[in-house]
Symmetry: C2
Subunit: 333 residues, 2 copies
Amino acid sequence: MKHSTIIDIAKKLRISPSTVSRALNDHPDIKKETKELVRKVAQELHYTPNPIAISLQSNRTTTIGVIVPEIKHDFFASAISGIEEVAYQSGYTIILCQSNESVDREVVNTNVLMQHRVAGIIASISQNTLKWNHFQDVIKRKIPLVFFDRVIEDAAVSSVVIDDYRSAFDAVSYLIGKGYKKIAHFSGPSKLGICIKRRDGYIDAMKQHHYPIPDNFICYGGLHEQDGYSAMDALIQQKTLPDAIFAINDPVAIGAFQRIREAGYRIPKDIAIMGFSNNKITNLMEPPLTTVDQPSFEMGRSAARILVQTIEEGLTEPCHLVLNTKLIIRGST
Amino acid sequence: MKHSTIIDIAKKLRISPSTVSRALNDHPDIKKETKELVRKVAQELHYTPNPIAISLQSNRTTTIGVIVPEIKHDFFASAISGIEEVAYQSGYTIILCQSNESVDREVVNTNVLMQHRVAGIIASISQNTLKWNHFQDVIKRKIPLVFFDRVIEDAAVSSVVIDDYRSAFDAVSYLIGKGYKKIAHFSGPSKLGICIKRRDGYIDAMKQHHYPIPDNFICYGGLHEQDGYSAMDALIQQKTLPDAIFAINDPVAIGAFQRIREAGYRIPKDIAIMGFSNNKITNLMEPPLTTVDQPSFEMGRSAARILVQTIEEGLTEPCHLVLNTKLIIRGST
DNA sequence: TCTTAATATGCAAACGTTTGCATATGAAAC
DNA sequence: GTTTCATATGCAAACGTTTGCATATTAAGA
């Protein structure tokens, strides 16, 4: 069962491949009857165009490259799902890569995608991405690029993000409004843009109310459960207990949550805790976790939409989209 | 910044493209010095081979197609991650599709993947896949295929699964050993293989102990939280309370869990509950959910390994891999 | 010195499309 | 009966590789 080609159709009809090609593409030069004939035979032979040949000839593909730090992460899984959704509807196909939070791998990924002549790339950078020559190569090659969530600020590239600063500011303000005063912040990698912004939001909210922030109340670390766990552990060791914790994301909040539990403190009575992202899981904890809802699926869809538009209509100006977050108040605060 | 080609190198060195091609592929006919020269210039020009041209010429790609029902689902996200891992290491690229549990979309997906001349396909079927002509097309085309988790039993195709029957049997036996007698089972779609097997494991474990299974103790439904919720709701309405529930998977267990809570029953005292898959979330519930650990990441890796092997070494016999599950006993039972 | 063989390279076709240009056909205009 | 134009089709090159075969060069054998 070989794939049949335009040439097979041509032979069968004793016409030339170019006529077949034009007929299938509904070229005005071709007579109606010929078109119908060609279409009929194409059906009979189960002809489907070979996208590879088309790509070679046209030097473009209908493939979108996607790079995320970690596929398993709830947020990214959901965003990818959104990307796939739009890609599917628009006739694109997605090639998925994960950087595993490694810049080196991210570099390989961008190269692979460029080699594959993807029509565009959607990316969320690794937490270790400080240099970004690899993305500059992408830009130089004029391959449409859209960042989402974790973006490179200095690059003139379309992006889909949330307002990390404001979301954090609002979240912390809510805590303050609830009466908490000694609020600690478990941040992530100190160089990662979203972490910097959320931290600044936290700081400014505290400052606005003239609440002091002791040195050890801002803890930098990773983005996983274990990081929250050990940050909390350190605070407990130091015996400087906050009355609330604002964590960079849900996993970190969950790690802290567990350590708090282990130490026998009550949530939220002794220590309140707040996450970020609204991972599915947070609603099922006991008490359920207060968090900030981040529209992951929608971010994926928007990023894909912007990319497709850039590819097809050649948008020249980068487009920046900021989606709304929503404070989800639950039992943990 | 155009990509440079083999011809650019040829021109620069005033030799023929074929020589360049052979030099880069380390063909024995080519003199050592020539090879070195070619490699040097290739470096200078940042040459990378165009995979599209290679594909067209060789009629094969280094792309693996992946079809899953839902990317967001914890289990699949993790499996995809495993697939990506192996693919990356083996120099393959993955095209990701989701069927959204729709057969029609699954058909489109397989067609798209075949058109793209993928080197092989890894799939987990949708819950509505009863006919499978689309996969037969794949087989006819001699495109290597590996199913994982949700497989088509009758197809002579490699697969990576767990022993659903035994896992369920053991799980229910454990419940029985704990003293539970009126155990209900929340199953999934009644035609889905994994559901049938888990159900049969449940039935046989009950039978072994001569425990009756009232009609309404096996509830068929979907695979999501809401399905568990409504199944539990129905039982509560009927006032025929089981003393334990064995759910087809974690989300269903979680749904039931919530309904139980809402009804004011205590877990596990009034009703015990057990899930399946060991989603990350289950460990954080209160009480944490007893479940069956399913090695999702490893299943992805194994599936990818088998596929790559089939592609590269042309395995002819389908290979069936059954990975071990592990009962994770926690507070909910 | 001439043949033979080994070594290194080039030529050209092939993969499946698209597309600019040439051309064949027929009809309308003069 | 030419010329002119529109219509419909075909030819061939191009996209970037790979590869069978031909060929040029050199070395070895007689």
